[in-house]
């Protein structure tokens, strides 16, 4: 199978048809969720606090959805307007209280309401920098997008220059002691090296974590970066080093615990609140489910 990155610009590959897959294919959804959960785990966020997180190459917002389920606030940026459109619809649905049932991780029939979205979207090319004030974000994730920077779509696009601009601005907009976890699919070993080298060149500490290194299909690369400006020994030690790739394979059993929300759901939606909200939606002429004895009843959770 040829790689999508070779087909031209990301905003052309991720067209409307491709974008819809991210909403309809449950395999696609599950893979994105799983990777996002692992990325969040590698971020080592402070446990009882909502974090402000940038999602680069947020696409259809599947990764963002996981962030909000964990109680975080996120901003997503993507170069494909068609992918953003799918994300936009997902966010709008959450406000309208449309029960687009979220499939849960065990794949059973139990369903739960998506929480109100905490995401905002931005149409932007990460290769041209990141338009935010310095020290804005508590963390950054990026799922399956970074490898796109290794390809150039025009004579003026130089991969190394784009990677350096991207990483230096990422470094600037993260708070000190923040981490960034960027999962990517390198086509070659050289690409993985180029990416890590550009990251360290701008001052990041960290390296690549490889999950399931022995499986061609399940193998995943995570670039784990820390921008601790004091570069304390401890942080550096807990980070994988760039030179020697750390091979971490995580067994299914040890993955079980990571799905817990790290923070109590923000502002529990009470029954009165939901009924009031539905009332406003009706006034605006939107179609809303009728109020029944099931309204605002807690759904069974996954555990």
């Amino acid at each position: 199978m040829s790689r999508p990155e070779l087909s031209g610009h990301a905003s052309i590959f991720y067209n409307e048809r491709e974008a819809r897959k991210y909403n309809s294919s449950s395999r696609m959804v599950n893979v994105q969720r799983e990777i996002t959960l692992r990325a969040i785990e590698l971020l080592l966020l402070s446990p009882d606090k909502a974090s402000y997180i940038l999602d680069i190459g947020c696409g259809s917002g599947l990764s963002g959805q996981v962030l909000e389920e964990k109680g975080h606030i996120w901003v997503g940026c993507d170069v494909s307007r068609d992918m953003l459109q799918v994300a936009h619809e997902r966010i709008d649905d959450s406000f309208d209280g449309n029960n687009k049932n979220v499939e849960n991780d065990e794949g059973s029939d139990e369903v739960h309401d998506p929480p109100l979205s905490t995401g905002d979207l931005l149409h932007h090319d990460m290769g041209t920098g990141l338009p935010f004030r310095p020290a804005t974000f508590d963390a950054c994730i990026s799922i399956s997008a970074l490898q796109w920077l290794c390809y150039s779509n025009s004579a003026s696009q130089n991969p190394k220059r784009r990677l350096l601009r991207f990483f230096s601005q990422l470094y600037a907009i993260l708070k000190k002691s923040a981490r960034a976890v960027l999962q990517f699919y390198p086509e070659t070993a050289e690409q993985a090296v180029l990416i890590s080298e550009c990251a360290t060149a701008v001052g990041f500490g960290g390296g690549v974590v490889v999950d399931y290194p022995n499986s061609t299909k399940a193998k995943k690369h995570y670039l784990v970066l820390s921008c601790d400006r004091t570069s304390s020994k401890q942080v550096q030690q807990s980070m994988p080093s760039v030179e020697e790739q750390t091979h971490v394979s995580v067994s299914a059993a040890s993955r079980k615990g990571i799905d817990k929300p790290i923070r109590k759901k923000k502002g529990i939606k009470t029954k009165e609140w939901i009924i009031k909200k539905k009332e406003t939606q009706r006034k605006r002429g939107k179609s809303v489910r009728p109020d029944t004895k099931y309204t605002a009843r807690r759904r069974p959770t996954k555990f």
């Binding site: 909502a50 402000y52 606030i73 936009h88 979207l121 338009p131 935010f132 804005t136 025009s154």
Partner: protein, 127 residues
């Protein structure tokens, strides 16, 4: 685009010095209510550019329906009462700019906002 996001956005067109704050030319603004979260606003305060919040609020004011509760023109020193925090939460999280433009204060470059999504894509010669 929430006003919270606006507070962190800058313009990085070639030739900008600060590129901040972006001016909002709003055509459509909606309110999407979400439950007040006191811990969340309190956590955000230290990094917030309060002056930019006030500026943004003035720029969208005539498009916001219903009119939000007042927030003080200057952030009070010391402990902030719950009513103020609630009003501030509402401004930052519930007001969404849906259609309009963001304008770079240095270069005048306009970034269109469509369906709530600002388009910050730069042309090759703007990088």
């Amino acid at each position: 685009m929430r006003l919270l996001t606006h507070n962190y956005l800058i313009s990085n067109v070639k030739g900008t010095k600060e590129g901040y704050p972006l001016q909002i030319e709003a055509e459509e603004v909606v309110i999407e209510d979400s439950p007040f979260d006191q811990e969340l606003v309190t956590g955000i305060l230290p990094k917030l550019n309060y002056e930019a919040v006030i500026g943004a609020l003035h720029q969208v004011a005539d498009k916001v329906e219903p009119k939000p509760a007042d927030i003080p023109e200057k952030l009070p020193e010391g402990e902030i009462d719950t009513a103020t925090l609630e009003a501030l939460y509402h401004v930052l999280f519930n007001i969404h700019v849906i259609e309009g433009h963001l304008v770079c204060p240095d270069t005048g470059r306009k970034f269109p906002i469509k369906q709530g999504i600002p388009n910050m894509i730069l042309h090759e010669d703007e990088i």
